[in-house]
């Protein structure tokens, strides 16, 4: 298959389509995944191609959707459950954290739960406090769950395909602000393994570590900083679990400065974990505290103005870098 120019949304759909073609045990189960085509259109048309027994519309029963996926995964299917908004994760938390995440361990390794929980989060659509959160920290805080957060069109496809080959449950969190993102997709690319971070830009003054949509903000900020004489490296960690620190370490050791960008709220968030990690691992090389540039510790507003300012922006990242480098 040649390289193609496509969108994040279509890359996700293509990944599902390819996976369902390759393996007839793959099913999609969730609210509005069939006839409606997915609340954000990711599964559009799949029910026509694969039928209602494999693309399963459900009642509004998030806990049972995940619980059903758990049982199906244990009995031979490859379920991709869709949670319309990551904000609904609370409804599913028992099935996700107490069942899916722990079954392999509790049962002494007899069986795993190879399922995907596809969902989306983040701000950008004035969706309000209950439809705009970034709750990846909840999943990352649960041993047994893998967590993938694609930032690019290529990763939308490849991380999803790779997630579906994992032996363990994967919480796959898309960003609602990225569905229309355009980019190149090389379906046959093989040099982008699961669980490895990507260095998207090199720079010797500062290392910016991020994931999901904030990667794009970090890149934009790095361009602005470059015009001001500051060269920032940008790392996309891609998967929060497993977390690849090996590429981050030498960058931070060389630059002596690092900041972590996350849309999730600051306190006890993913940025906090990554910052702690950098501080512990690279302490002797640091010239500044590792700073978190993360979501404010507040709910998300519907007002576009308030919403936009509740999470990091390229401008905030630039300002943070300038403060750090004292220019």
């Amino acid at each position: 298959m040649p390289k193609l120019e496509t969108t994040y949304r279509d890359a996700l759909r293509l990944a599902l389509q390819h996976a369902m073609t390759d393996d007839e045990d793959v099913i999609i189960i969730g609210e509005e995944v069939g006839l409606y085509g997915g609340a954000y259109g990711v599964t559009k048309g799949l029910i026509d191609e694969f039928g209602a027994e494999r693309v399963i519309d459900t009642p509004i029963s998030e806990a049972a959707i995940v619980g059903t996926a758990v049982g199906a995964a244990m009995t031979g299917l490859r379920p991709v459950a869709e949670l319309m908004y990551v904000d609904f994760m609370g409804m599913t938390m028992d099935q996700l954290a107490n069942q899916a995440a722990k079954i392999r361990y509790m049962f002494g390794g007899q069986i795993g739960v190879p399922m995907i929980l596809r969902t989306q989060g983040g701000t950008g659509r004035s969706a309000g406090a209950q439809h705009s959160q970034s709750l990846e920290a909840l999943a990352m805080h649960t041993p047994g769950l893998r967590v993938a957060m694609p930032a690019t069109v290529s990763d939308a496809y490849h991380l999803l395909r790779q997630a579906m080959r994992q032996p363990d449950p994967v919480v796959f969190i898309e960003h609602k602000g990225l569905y229309t993102l355009k980019g190149e997709l090389d379906v046959d690319m093989s040099d982008s393994p699961w669980g490895k971070s990507h260095i998207l830009r090199s720079g010797s003054d500062l290392v910016i570590i991020s994931y999901s949509r904030q990667v794009h903000f970090a890149l934009a900020a790095a361009d602005t900083l470059s015009a001001k004489g500051i060269e920032a490296a940008v790392v996309d960690v891609r998967t929060l679990n497993p977390l690849d620190f090996e590429k981050i370490r030498p960058l931070v050791e060389a630059a002596g400065r690092a900041m972590v960008i996350s849309e999730g709220v600051m306190t006890s968030g993913v940025a906090a974990e990554l910052a702690a990690r950098v501080s512990e691992e690279c302490f002797d090389y640091l010239e500044d505290p590792v700073v978190r540039v993360a979501g404010e510790d507040i709910p998300i507003s519907v007002s576009p103005l308030l919403e936009k300012n509740s999470v990091p922006s390229p401008e905030l990242i630039v300002d943070a870098a300038l403060m750090m480098l004292r220019t």
Binding site: D25, V66, G67, V70
Partner: protein, 345 residues
């Protein structure tokens, strides 16, 4: 169980049901002893004494390839599905030789080869898995049925209703079995629900639904067989088995929330003794033969205690194993990380 080789209603069938129930009863008694000896891993031991007919009666209709999940009071169900009491007791003692290598224990025991998708310590937590197993059976054109066992306490959990709705909606080969032992921990069922006819709720979802008295194991088995045959054909079912929990909630619980008179009355609803009396009444087997059977079972279960006590403790190293798949790197132990990041620089 061997009962499937004998004709329902025959004397030998009832003998087999009795034997299974006695095994459950004796096993549970030994679990209690294990705790008193200080050999159990913890005190989270929920005995199903008084509820044997539900486990044995329902499992009599299950086949190889069928799957099931249980609640935290599920020893009897697992035994009735063919579990090895040695490995069960070892697991309850937290030993490497147990079903889950000592990581699961009484409340998380499981065995994929017997279709046991897991006991669950979250009330209602194992219920939706049978919907998934039902979907898998449907999609793979298998005739397996999947059974969720739970207590009356789970009737208060929303996940049950989500699951029953989906099973009915999609006509899955699924059966929900509510073992109504009258108590959700310390709360009697009439203090938790206004309508004590639990099966009416399931009927409202479009399931075939019945309540059966658990005193008579043959009646339980017969009703379960009928419902399960329907479930296997795509008419999912619900069965409530009325019984009485002879002991407290867990091994440590002395049941101060119920009076002695009620307990004495409840314990008269003894399905094991009822089956024994029936057998003697029908002259299906002699009292001496029944005693001999009970003695054999006692020896078998005594051996399970010895097996558990002699079992190896898990290796410390196993602690980081099986968090993720077998080829995945194990999580880094805190001590290792500390030594790495705090190494002399």
């Amino acid at each position: 169980m061997d009962a499937k080789n004998t004709k329902a209603g025959s004397n030998s069938y009832l003998v087999e049901l009795y034997r299974q129930m006695r095994r459950v009863r004796t096993f549970e008694e030994r679990v209690g002893e294990l705790f008193v000896r200080g050999q159990s891993a913890g005190s989270m031991l929920h005995l199903s004494i008084g509820e044997e007919s539900a486990a044995v009666g329902v499992c009599a209709s299950m086949r190889d390839g069928d799957t099931f999940t249980t609640h935290h009071r599920g020893h009897g169900i697992f035994l009735a599905r063919g579990a090895d009491p040695n490995r069960m007791m070892a697991e309850i003692a937290g030993k490497e030789t147990g079903y889950c290598s000592g990581k699961g224990g009484s409340m998380h025991i499981a065995d994929m080869s017997l279709g046991h998708l897991g006991a669950n310590a979250i009330v209602g937590g194992g219920i939706p898995a049978v919907v998934g197993a039902g979907l898998a059976a449907r999609n793979t054109k298998s005739d397996a049925v999947s059974v969720a066992f739970f207590g009356d306490g789970a009737m208060g959990q929303g996940i049950l209703y989500e699951s029953m709705n989906m099973a009915a909606l999609w006509k899955l080969p699924v059966m929900f079995v509510c073992i109504n032992n009258q108590y959700g921990m310390g709360t009697r069922v009439d203090r938790a629900t206004a309508n004590p006819n639990l099966h009416e709720r399931a009927a409202a979802f479009g399931l075939q639904a019945k309540t059966v008295n658990g005193l008579d194991v043959e009646e339980v088995a017969e009703t379960a067989a009928e419902l399960m045959a329907g479930a296997r054909a795509g008419n999912p079912a619900y069965l409530a088995v009325d019984c009485y929990r002879f002991h407290g909630h867990a091994r440590m619980d002395k049941s101060p929330y119920r009076d002695d008179a009620e307990e004495a009355e409840g314990r008269k609803q003894d399905p094991v003794l009822h089956a024994r009396a029936s057998l003697l009444d029908r002259e299906a087997i002699s009292g001496a033969d029944l005693d001999a059977m009970d003695m054999d079972i006692a020896s078998e279960m005594d051996a399970s205690i010895d097996f558990a006590i002699k079992g190896q403790e898990p290796q410390m190293r196993s602690m980081f194993r099986d968090v993720y798949g077998p080829d995945e790197p194990e999580p880094e132990p805190v001590r290792v990380r500390l030594e790495r990041v705090l190494a002399e620089r």
